[in-house]
């Protein structure tokens, strides 16, 4: 399998230029802002922006700034991280199926978080062991999984894409089985809560956590953007890229870890939000062509808009029942058919 749009669609009109990058970024930023505005304005309760801005103690202000904004920011960070990482993985491994979850990073994060949740119930004897521990453990799990996939995929000092992907798939199965076993050790309520977390949902993080996550993801994206040109050349094959002056192994290493950092941050805060990292980069590739210099920023903005929109849907759909759906369920339900439709129309 090769990247679908690598040849025919790379027509003159799709050639990279700073002006084109600026136009695309402006377009996607406008879409993202519109989605953010809708997510801030809509929810289970009706609020007034005027009242919220005028009186910091009002119910409107507490709902807007205390509940909706933190969730919106988290959704934007996680969506951007997963999508930008997905775009990078697909380019790096030259495989359209590569996404943050296939590589085992998410499985590692889920296993780490699960271990922490089980620890909470077994060690503390209390059901309310903290979210900070779960987040930290999930991050550690993602890092370990990344190292494993990288170690398993490296043969004779070279990173082999197929081996790396296979190692990720195998590790995901292993993590899923471990989670199933660990579930036996916890109460049914705990298992249900675990399931909720694994499905992927946006909660309420503190301002400092969001700031830290935002900085980490921005750094990762800056690194990915810097390596975008090298990734473009690597589509030609390792030897051709090396002939053009690309340090192939170093580029692979840097891109792999930058993308994995972004994914680890996202998964540790939101659980397994499916599909964002697979679908959004493909959508962007269908719309704007395969140039990585466009794909990384476009995917980041598109991913932020997509996940915030999905979470808005998750918050609104079940208002009559007085509950919320995990955002991950919406991304999979809404994203799948839409993507298939688009793929057929573009006959890629």
């Amino acid at each position: 399998m090769t990247l679908p749009a690598s040849t025919e669609t790379a027509t003159l009109a799709r050639r990279f230029s700073p002006a084109r990058l600026a136009a695309i970024v402006a377009l996607l930023a406008a879409i993202a802002l519109a989605v953010f505005a809708a997510a801030a304005a809509l929810g289970a309760e009706r609020i007034s922006f005027g009242a919220a801005l005028l009186d910091a103690g009002s119910l409107d202000a507490r709902i807007l700034f205390g509940l909706r904004m933190p969730r919106l920011v988290l959704g934007a960070i996680a969506g951007a991280a997963l999508s930008a990482a997905g775009a990078a993985y697909q380019g790096l491994l030259r495989n359209p199926l590569a996404d943050p979850f296939v590589l085992g990073v998410s499985g590692g994060a889920a296993l780490g978080g699960t271990l922490a949740l089980v620890a909470g119930s077994l060690l503390g004897g209390s059901a309310l062991q903290g979210g900070a521990l779960v987040t930290t453990a999930a991050f550690a799990g993602a890092v370990v999984a990344t190292l494993l996939a990288f170690a398993a995929g490296t043969v004779g000092g070279r990173l082999d894409p197929t081996r790396t992907l296979l190692a990720g798939v195998v590790f995901n199965s292993f993590a899923a089985a471990m989670i199933t076993i660990l579930k036996v050790a916890v109460s049914p309520e705990k298992a249900q809560e675990l399931l909720f977390w694994l499905t992927g949902s946006l909660g309420y993080e503190s301002g400092s956590t969001l700031l830290l996550a935002g900085i980490a993801v921005l750094i990762a994206m800056a690194v990915l953007s810097r390596q975008a040109h090298a990734l473009n050349l690597m589509v030609l094959g390792d030897d051709a890229a090396a002939a053009l002056g690309v340090e192939v192994q170093r580029t692979r290493l840097v891109v792999f870890f930058a993308a994995s950092l972004a994914v680890a941050v996202a998964v540790s805060l939101t659980g397994m939000v499916a599909f964002v990292g697979l679908i959004v980069p493909h959508l962007m590739r269908l719309a704007f062509g395969p140039d990585q210099r466009l794909l990384v920023p476009a995917s980041a903005l598109g991913g932020a808009a997509f996940l915030v929109a999905a979470d808005l849907g998750a918050r609104l759909l079940f208002v009559p029942l007085g509950t919320e759906l995990p955002a991950g369920a919406i991304t999979a339900i809404a994203g799948g058919p839409f993507f298939l439709l688009l793929m057929r129309r573009r006959s890629m």
């Binding site: 289970a44 979210g131 036996v184 309420y204």
Partner: protein, 306 residues
């Protein structure tokens, strides 16, 4: 009266649980290593946890109470304070609260709906699923009382704590005393033969009440022997063979028809379906649960004295 009394259990000033916010990566790794050990050596510790406060502590008794669990609603109703309720969980089924707004469940409370009800007291049974929402609501100025309801002792302490928060400490003491009297009347009602009993929460997989569970405590109280007493954890998953070998005299079906599977054929003659939801309501209705156990395990006379 000390309105902040419930927080004196030592956890009051820990923000919703004992995990340090700045847990380092190394610390997390060390904890994960600890879990590997803990997974083997299950803790049976069923110590009572003290209720604790989050958010502001109001001066006056509350006028708008929102509950996030049916047990907590039932505690408020039992204290005669039903008119204070402004919202309840979506699992609440008491007739008195049928018309009240629903604010989500045990795992998925709806924060905007709760905030919009402007509660001056939010009663919460802690779960990892509601932790983030409840912490955030407390930070936004909602007074919260967190009430662990894991066993009978927890429940009695929580009833007193709710009553105290509502400004009705005497009613709470009376309610707790009434429950204690009722339970001591029902003590050993299963008779002298101590029937081996298994309480099943789900048939596939076969999940039963193990040591440290609420049902285990009630079984012991009425004088039955929990057939799953030797197993690990409060909600163990059993092998079907082990259940058959353990030869329980009674198998109490608390699955409520969930799980889509029928009771195991070889046990069919011993299965009794629990009719009430009282088994899942650690509150005033725990007496009801004990009474139902007595009626099933000793149907002949249901004697009050041993």
């Amino acid at each position: 009266m000390r309105r902040d009394a419930p927080s004196r259990g030592g956890r009051g000033d820990v923000p919703f649980g004992a995990a340090p916010r700045d847990a380092s990566l190394l610390g997390a790794v060390a904890r994960i290593a600890l879990v590997a050990v803990a997974c083997v050596v299950f803790s049976h510790d069923a110590r009572a946890e003290a209720p604790f406060r989050l958010g502001p502590v109001p001066d006056a008794p509350p006028a708008r109470v929102v509950t996030l669990a049916p047990s907590l609603t039932e505690i408020v109703l039992d204290l005669g304070a039903g008119r204070l309720l402004a919202g309840v969980s979506r699992y609440d089924d008491a007739a008195q609260v049928a018309s009240l707004p629903r604010v989500g469940g045990y795992l998925d409370p709806a924060p905007e709906a709760i905030l919009a009800l402007r509660p001056d007291l939010l009663l919460v049974e802690p779960s990892p699923g509601n932790r983030a929402v409840v912490e955030r609501l407390a930070a936004l100025g909602v007074p919260v009382l967190v009430l662990p309801l894991k066993n009978v002792a927890d429940t009695l302490v929580s009833i007193r704590a709710v009553a105290e928060a509502l400004g009705r400490a005497d009613d709470g003491a009376a309610a707790a005393a009434r429950i204690e009297r009722a339970l001591s009347r029902l003590r050993s009602c299963a008779g002298g033969n101590a029937p081996r009993t298994l309480v099943v929460y789900g048939w596939q997989p076969l999940v039963a009440a193990g040591p440290g569970s609420f049902a285990d405590e009630l079984l012991t109280l009425v004088g039955a022997v929990n057939a799953a007493a030797g197993l690990a954890g409060p909600y163990p998953t059993l092998s079907v063979e082990a259940v058959l070998v353990s030869e329980p005299a009674f198998v109490l079906d608390a699955s409520g028809g969930h799980g889509g599977s029928r009771p195991l054929e070889p046990l069919a003659g011993r299965v009794r379906r629990l009719r009430t939801s009282a088994f899942f309501r650690p509150g005033p209705r725990l007496v009801e649960a004990a009474e139902e156990l007595c009626a099933i395990l000793h149907p002949a006379d249901g004697r009050k004295e041993r």
